[in-house]
């Protein structure tokens, strides 16, 4: 687990259960400020009085990208990312990271298009720079194919990706079961490389990473002035949100370096995404399924469906199974909430619920989340530990 570097100089391992420790010290069991004097005691920063202390809960794609955006918008802040899982153990590490948007029924289309465009443009400039390899971002071309005519031949994101057009008859011959297709060039953003790169950026701007499981957002009061909730499925507990549910996705990561194109069935159920060090074959969409263990029968089915689209995959080797739980919601939750309990107040910015579309939307939504954080920071005025809002 990441070593925490304290500004005091040494490094130390964060205690596994703060609450347990403090129960021992104080004999108290409530989740109030008491239980968390440990937090302040463990690492206090030498901070000027007007620094806004921001906690980002969650170190997946949303947590880290929001942690990168916040210092660019919020003057004089400190950012601490707190999570029980860091890369390579997050859901974002399982996803293939291809930029093909998912449609959210409850989010206005113009917003989805804006976020996708912001994300695409941002990653496109990284892909064309010397940073591309370190960031794990690069261009990939391919086809999205349909067994029957789609209701929408030209999706809302067609002019954001590059070179979007309908497939020709000659190209469709490669897929005899399919009657229509779209060809385009998009980006792939590889979690296991991109997330560590984001972590570096967070640390470079003075952010801290803290491995700790948060059971209740109030644990962060009063050590932090603003909390950004990027806990994905964790929001069922942390935000009491019953509208978020897992959509289980199983994938195979295989060696097939001759594959240079993505192939995606329009249903989204079967796909082949070539990466830098492996090819992702998918997948499944199992609503409400929390099971993180790979299922052998499902793996065989995924392999067989992908081989039907791309017979050369029969020669693929070194097949590994992975499972991720998409944090699915009818719409992405990007919202401020002021938590109140007795006389305590805790501003929270929620940034979660991206389902299948995390990579496609992340930069646009992270920018928006950072804007919301800035609004909270402005509202705080010049903060003292017990300032009223």
């Amino acid at each position: 687990m990441p070593v925490v570097n304290s500004p005091m100089g040494g490094s130390f391992a964060f205690p596994q259960s703060l609450r347990a420790r403090d129960q021992l010290l104080t004999g108290k069991t409530s989740v109030g400020a008491r239980a968390f004097c440990g937090f302040q005691g463990c690492f206090f920063r030498d901070r000027p009085m007007d620094t806004v202390r921001i906690a980002v809960v969650g170190a997946g794609l949303m947590g880290l990208s929001t942690a990168v955006c916040i210092p660019t918008l919020v003057p004089r802040c400190s950012v601490t990312v707190i999570a029980d899982k860091f890369t390579p153990d997050t859901t974002s590490d399982v996803a293939a990271g291809i930029l093909i948007p998912h449609a959210y029924p409850d989010t206005p289309v113009h917003k989805q298009k804006q976020w996708f465009r912001e994300t695409f443009d941002h990653l496109f400039s990284i892909a064309n720079s010397a940073e591309a390899g370190d960031a794990g971002v690069y261009l990939v071309s391919g086809w999205q194919i349909f067994r029957s005519m789609p209701t929408e031949e030209v999706p809302f994101w067609a002019d954001v990706v590059l070179g979007f057009r309908k497939m020709t008859e000659a190209e469709l011959k490669k897929f005899p079961q399919h009657v229509f297709g779209q060809a385009f060039t998009t980006l792939k953003c590889e979690g296991p490389v991109y997330l560590p790169w984001l972590e570096k950026r967070v640390k470079r701007s003075g952010g801290l990473m803290v491995p700790q499981r948060i059971e209740d957002l109030w644990e962060l009061h009063p050590s932090f002035d603003i909390v950004v909730n990027c806990s994905g499925l964790g929001s069922r507990q942390l935000a009491g949100d019953s509208t978020i549910f897992p959509v289980r996705g199983q994938v195979l990561k295989v060696q097939a370096p001759w594959l240079k194109h993505f192939i995606r069935d329009g249903s989204g159920l079967t796909y082949i995404y070539p990466g830098t060090s492996n090819v992702t074959l998918g997948g499944t969409r199992q609503k409400g399924d929390w099971n993180l263990s790979p299922d052998a029968e499902i793996s065989r089915d995924i392999f067989s469906r992908c081989c039907a689209l791309e017979p050369s995959l029969h020669r693929a080797c070194d097949i590994r199974e992975k499972v991720g739980l998409r944090p699915s919601r009818p719409g992405i939750r990007l919202q401020k909430e002021l938590l109140a309990q007795d006389s305590r107040r805790l501003p929270v910015v929620h940034h979660y619920g991206h389902g299948s579309g995390g990579f496609s939307m992340h930069w646009g939504t992270a920018l928006e989340a950072a804007r919301l954080v800035n609004e909270c920071a402005q509202a705080l005025g010049s903060p003292a530990p017990k300032s009223k809002l």
Partner: protein, 347 residues
């Protein structure tokens, strides 16, 4: 009926396979052998990046366009089989870049999805203002030669490593038909002033994030003298050297710098790529492919000779069409010698 194929590059091996598969079923006595002094990985085919792409201008011999098409179709039909990777074959898309607008190439309807580049795509390449995007094929020389060797070995075709000093030596050794696939060194067996080496040097790097080919063109400098980046199955080939008349087999440091700087300027992400190897090869340059018969007479007997060499920088691109044509010429020989009862099946 003893057939000796001289040369074990892509032309020699594919011609041997084509002839064997066409005529062995109808001619039991068919005995095909391959003689060469260099086999994979030491042939010029092994150095080639393997991108299927003819020259931009129309060939002086219109048959070559047909042979290119036949090769593309043949390879495309193999793409759908599990064997594709074994053959070193894969689909690949990419960019052709120019400093100014140019007419579409004659092969635009052979490749898949040919279109012009959009302004946003051109933004990626600030030195260029016009270009094409299309989906083509990679046929990796080394892997393909290994595959061809395996197929020929299965069929009982014999390989013999030797330096052939003269056609006469092979004729007197008992060959009824000689297929001359000696590539750039064909002049050693029979002087050919139209044949010249087009020396190329390439750097192979590890850059697995590159999924597209990028080929630049500079009409002032000429073909293959402008940077190109061609991903293969595992490694990426960087090139941009074409020196007519240069026989030096040694990697040249100036050429290395020219390739490296040109390609890194084109694709800055390559700066972090690790260099795996570097090699030199010789394109067998000729105004057109020499694909024709010749009759030799040594002593009392006639030996039929079929030339199949001079494929320049597009050997992999055109090889199967030429193999089919060579097989057709071979069929004519069999007919003349009344060895075929039936007319040769249409190829």
């Amino acid at each position: 009926m003893r057939v000796v194929v001289i040369g074990a590059g892509v032309i020699g091996l594919s011609t041997a396979l084509c002839i064997h598969d066409r005529y062995q079923p109808v001619l039991q006595s068919l005995d095909v052998r391959v003689y060469a002094d260099r086999f994979t990985p030491l042939t010029n085919t092994d150095v080639a990046a393997g991108l299927w792409q003819p020259y931009l201008s129309n060939p002086s011999n219109p048959q070559e366009t047909h042979w290119n098409q036949q090769t593309f179709d043949y390879l495309l039909s193999h793409l759908h089989s599990p064997n594709a990777a074994d053959m070193g074959l894969a689909l690949i898309s990419g960019y052709n870049l120019f400093h100014e607008a140019v007419p579409d190439p004659s092969w635009k309807d052979i490749v898949l999805g040919f279109r012009k580049l959009t302004p946003r795509e051109l933004d990626m390449f600030p030195d260029y203002s016009y270009g094409w995007f299309n989906t083509s094929l990679i046929l990796e020389g080394k892997r393909y030669l290994q595959w061809l060797t395996e197929r020929l070995t299965e069929r009982g075709v014999k390989f013999s490593q030797r330096k052939v000093e003269s056609l006469e030596e092979v004729a007197r050794g008992g060959a009824d038909v000689i297929i001359n696939c000696t590539g750039v060194r064909a002049g050693e067996l029979q002087p050919d002033p139209m044949l010249q080496p087009g020396r190329g040097q390439i750097i192979k790097v590890d850059a697995p994030w590159m999924k597209h080919f990028i080929v630049t063109h500079d009409p002032e400098r000429g073909i293959y003298r402008s940077p190109y980046i061609i991903p293969g199955i595992r490694e990426v080939t960087l090139g941009g050297i074409f020196q007519l008349g240069n026989w030096s087999e040694v990697n040249n440091i100036q050429d290395h710098k020219s390739i490296w700087e040109g390609c890194c300027r084109l694709e800055p992400t390559l700066k972090k790529a690790e260099i795996v190897s570097e090699c030199t090869g010789f394109r067998p340059v000729r105004p057109q492919v020499r694909l024709e018969r010749e009759r030799l007479r040594f002593g009392p007997s006639n030996t039929e000779l079929i030339h199949n060499y001079g494929h320049g920088g597009y050997g992999l691109t055109i090889h199967w069409g030429c193999a089919l044509e060579a097989a057709k010429l071979f069929g004519e020989v069999l007919e003349e010698r009344k060895l075929l009862r039936m007319p040769p099946s249409h190829l």
